[in-house]
Symmetry: none
Subunit: 233 residues, 2 copies
């Protein structure tokens, strides 16, 4: 199966240049000329990797990255014109998997893409993640409990998503904090505490007798519901 790469870049020339290179390497490419279309394509097309240009005409590149990370762990390689260390650090901590400065060589770009596809375990289109009494749909950001649809906010969904990705596995607080609020809030556990409370309330879960989200004191949280389909098998 050919791997699909989503290119989000406003410069038509660069897109064309990348498409040709990717095709030559045996990849299939889909393209978006701005952030909003990129996010839409991501959900429609289920690519295996995203190449994201920071300088987009409509929305900030950081924003796109954050949106992607709300509901997906797809490998993201960021391109940018500026070679500032602070920018790099911010992006990598914000969830980017790699970073390349313009102008770059095609061969390095291809090599780095190969590395990401080789090293990062990512299964596209988890479609729905189905658990005993709980369904999580990352594409539409919808959740069902015992068949009834539940409305979650963005952050509530992100939290549930990150737990649902590793059913039964303990996810550390730091991991969740960094994933949802970014590295600058890696220590602010009170954020997590109130979000957990809200999420539990909407899921009709009880902290003392958890059906879905169990607390591992001092460490983090864990989704206890049995995985029936999707998630990390």
């Amino acid at each position: 199966m050919k791997k699909k790469i989503l290119i989000i870049d406003d410069e038509q020339q660069i897109r064309h240049f990348m498409r040709v290179s990717f095709t030559a390497e045996g990849y299939q490419s889909i393209e978006a000329e701005n952030g909003v279309k990129g996010l839409a394509l991501l959900k429609q097309e289920n690519p295996n990797l995203v190449v994201l240009d920071l300088g987009l005409p409509d929305v900030d590149g950081y924003y796109v990255l954050r949106e992607i990370r709300q509901s997906s762990k797809i490998p993201v390689l960021v391109l940018t014109a500026r070679d500032q260390e602070s920018v790099k650090v911010k992006l990598l901590e914000g969830g980017a998997n790699d970073y390349l400065c313009k102008p770059f060589g095609v061969r390095e770009l291809i090599a780095r893409i190969k590395v990401l596809l080789r090293d990062i375990v990512y299964e596209p289109t988890p479609g729905h993640m189905v658990f005993d009494g709980l369904v999580v749909k990352p594409k539409t950001l919808q959740v069902e409990v015992d068949g009834k649809p539940i409305k979650l906010s963005k952050k509530e969904f992100a939290l549930l998503f990150h737990l649902a990705e590793k059913p039964g596995v303990l996810v550390t607080r730091t991991e969740l904090l960094v994933a949802i609020w970014g590295a600058t809030h890696a220590e602010d556990t009170h954020y997590l505490r109130v979000l957990i409370t809200q999420l539990r309330k909407k899921l009709n879960d009880d902290a003392d007798a958890p059906r879905f989200i169990a607390t591992e004191p001092g460490i983090g949280y864990r989704l206890v519901a049995k995985a029936l389909k999707g998630g990390a098998q």
Copy 2:
């Protein structure tokens, strides 16, 4: 538990510089000044990540990388002085997970290390340490006695972990005190006494006829259970 980083670099200054930075970030670092020693340390110490300098005095950096990849999927970040695309491509295709050119910024180095540790699934040791009737799982801070899960607090776990790391070996009180409470409490043996009592109670152990933790009067403690798997073989 602290993640271990193996530094393979011949320049003492750079090693020192990295060690200081890594320690500040909460990582533990071990160092080798050439390739052969690096490969030896890799097997002995089970680090979580390798930072490899290409220009080594004894053997080629490529060779070291190939040797590592013969038997391990550990994340490897390569450092080099030359910024040639062909070199980068060759390294990345040869199994390196990331690449950084000298001179580099510490913050970028740290950021890239964090990304590798975050994104690449790699289990250094077997994961848990198994003894006769006792299982210690450092990753999730869980402990089992005779198959039954036991709830330990952070400090209790840290204590047991440091003993389990060296099964059968005497661990001095100072060593434990420094590891758990820090150097400022290296003399406060009463801390250790009550923590030992609590831990023994939870493990159902008896100080007078120790099944797990034996006292070595005047010196320290020792885990007496037989190691079946994991730990320092």
